[in-house]
């Protein structure tokens, strides 16, 4: 009993990477925001349909309660406002600003808009798992990494301690990072199992006779005008083989979780099946391909091809003023953007010896005047040029490089840097207790 309980606890609560959870948030929110967000035009078009067709589903009735009562039909103003709220909360959730709150808002608005679309007699399947995944993520620590919330909390900690806070590291783990991924994974298992079970209950072995899938290929081929589906319908052996593969995949998807070495195979096969279903039947289940990101940990740790290159030993060392709030904030953000960990930092106020060893002719006055960067080949850059050297080392800053190398940048850049630097404040200690 204890062993089973421990195994169960490990399955749901073994420490997992907060980075993985953040990746899932970014992929799912990004996909829902940019690809699958319900169209406002269609929402408004639905309002123009015959009132006799409006049969609100319970989810919609519950969610519309605050807007006027049980079973009401929303008006254009409410739907438009909710749609814009969905976009705003989606952007905030993607960037990780007030992540939980914004993700809750994003999940709620999407649920309401989709439930509204499904209150006119027809309900479809593609969005359900994605919507449930968004709700589950909203209750998890998805904003702990790769979020504005994280930058803000690190800046706050740095300002509070008066020091550039050490980075969280790429291996930040949490006992609460695994369960949301497990819920999404098991949801996929239940959904696929339901599809397979329905086939067994309705058709039994007849579902594998080839004619069943042929019928559906002809049905969607003619109804939706898909020549590829009609072409496939002419190949009975291929159709029979595909029937077997599809049913086996649906009924056995749990192995994608239970046997991690099979995860890549299931995810790849699932993606191919969904793409194939689109090309031959135009049934759009692309959400599922995105939802597979819930297997990110297994996909990352058991990748069949090693893509990672050895970490570079070349480092750029930033010599900064640890008593200047703006400098500390800048270091936090630079450190955050430095995915390849190419930057090293030296607070010359606290580690003068290290700074002086790096730059032999360094004076305290020069160090306090502007940020300094020592490149891997030993060259020293100062102020604007130091910042430009850092931008070259950090790929996420490459988009601003054209600006830094534009005509007149060599004149305007140092001037702008000087303007900002001259206005920064320094927290100079008057007692020995505030500087450690």
């Amino acid at each position: 009993m204890t062993t089973a309980w421990r195994a169960l606890e490990r399955h749901w609560f073994a420490p997992a990477s907060l980075d993985d959870l953040a990746i899932v948030r970014i992929v799912l929110v990004g996909a829902q925001l940019f690809v699958f967000l319900p169209s406002l035009d269609r929402q408004l078009w639905l309002l123009g349909t015959d009132p006799s067709l409006y049969v609100p589903i319970p989810t919609l009735k519950v969610m519309l309660l605050p807007f006027g009562g049980w079973g009401i039909r929303p008006d254009a103003a409410v739907l438009t406002a909710l749609w814009y709220l969905g976009v705003l909360t989606g952007i905030a959730a993607l960037l990780g600003t007030f992540t939980r709150l914004s993700l809750l808002g994003f999940a709620a608005t999407n649920t309401l808009l989709i439930a509204h679309a499904y209150s006119y007699g027809q309900r479809h399947h593609p969005e359900a798992v994605m919507v449930m995944a968004l709700w589950v993520l909203a209750l998890a620590p998805v904003g702990a990494r790769w979020s504005w919330d994280e930058i803000r909390s690190r800046v706050r900690a740095s300002v509070r301690t008066g020091q550039f806070a050490p980075p969280l590291g790429t291996d930040a783990m949490s006992e609460l990072a695994r369960w949301p991924l497990r819920v999404i994974q098991w949801l996929l298992v239940l959904v696929y199992f339901s599809a397979g079970l329905s086939k067994l209950v309705s058709a039994g072995p007849d579902w594998l006779n080839g004619h069943t899938l042929t019928y559906y290929l002809v049905q969607d081929g003619l109804n939706k005008g898909v020549p590829l589906g009609l072409w496939l319908a002419e190949h009975p052996m291929a159709v029979r083989g595909l029937s077997v593969v599809a049913l086996a995949f649906e009924l056995s998807f749990a192995f994608a979780i239970l046997v991690p070495r099979l995860t890549w195979g299931y995810v790849a096969l699932g993606a191919v099946l969904h793409l194939g279903i689109w090309f031959t039947m135009q049934a759009n289940f692309f959400q599922y391909i995105f939802v597979y990101v819930a297997f990110v940990e297994t996909l990352r740790t058991r990748t069949p091809v090693r893509l990672a290159t050895p970490a570079s030993q070349r480092h750029w060392t930033v010599v900064y003023d640890g008593l200047c709030g703006l400098c500390v904030r800048s270091m936090v953000i630079l450190d955050y953007l430095d995915l390849k960990r190419r930057l090293r930092s030296v607070d010359f106020e606290r580690n003068w010896g290290t700074a002086a060893a790096l730059i032999p002719d360094l004076t305290m006055e020069r160090a306090r005047h502007a940020m300094l960067v020592v490149t891997p080949d030993g060259r020293v850059h100062s102020g604007f040029f130091a910042f430009r050297a850092v931008a070259r080392a950090v790929p996420l800053l490459w988009p601003v490089l054209p600006l830094f190398y534009a005509p007149l940048a060599n004149r305007i850049g140092p001037w702008a840097y000087g303007q900002i630097a001259s206005r920064r404040s320094r927290h100079v200690c008057s007692t020995s207790t505030c500087c450690r």
Partner: protein, 162 residues
């Protein structure tokens, strides 16, 4: 701190059990669709069996203008303000009812007539159900554009003048 973590874990257990439990409840086979409680729903699409020799039938709604003439206009679902799948279902019901002379024909006929007369008052007086079919498992290539034929005609009730 320890208590807070335990509380958070307990919350996670409750949420996980609720979400997966509701989904599990929705997928239990019952003989009828379980999509009313969306997003918790079953996935029975494409599950009914079909056999060689069976005919897939595709339907079309066409309207005859009141002004006369031989022109018949095809109507798409969006023009009537209904979902494409709903339109397919209505036309299939109409075909089945017409074939078996069942009463349900009346409801599909009435609803479609109501939608047409609401959308284009006084423009169309007759509706026609057209059909084309493909025999499953028949040798040779699947026809990409089989011939259409009219299988049922009914009058569209006109809305009273205001």
């Amino acid at each position: 701190m320890r208590n807070s973590k335990a509380l958070q874990k307990a919350g996670a257990v409750v949420v996980s059990a609720l979400v997966l439990g509701l989904q599990l409840w929705a997928i239990v086979p019952r003989g009828h669709a379980m999509d009313w409680y969306w997003p918790f729903m079953d996935y029975p699409m494409y599950s009914r069996p079909h056999f060689a020799g069976e005919t897939f039938r595709q339907h079309d709604l066409r309207l005859v203008p009141c002004r006369g003439g031989s022109g018949r206009e095809r109507v798409q679902a969006w023009q009537l303000g209904v979902e494409p799948f709903m339109m397919i279902g209505l036309l299939r019901d109409l075909d089945t009812a017409a074939a078996h002379r069942r009463l349900t024909r009346d409801s599909a006929e009435t609803l479609l007539g109501h939608l047409v007369s609401n959308r284009w008052p006084g423009s169309y007086c007759t509706a026609q159900l057209w059909q084309r079919g493909v025999v499953i498992g028949a040798p040779g290539p699947v026809p990409v554009d089989p011939l259409w034929q009219v299988i049922h005609t009914w009058p569209i009730p006109q809305r009273p003048e205001r």
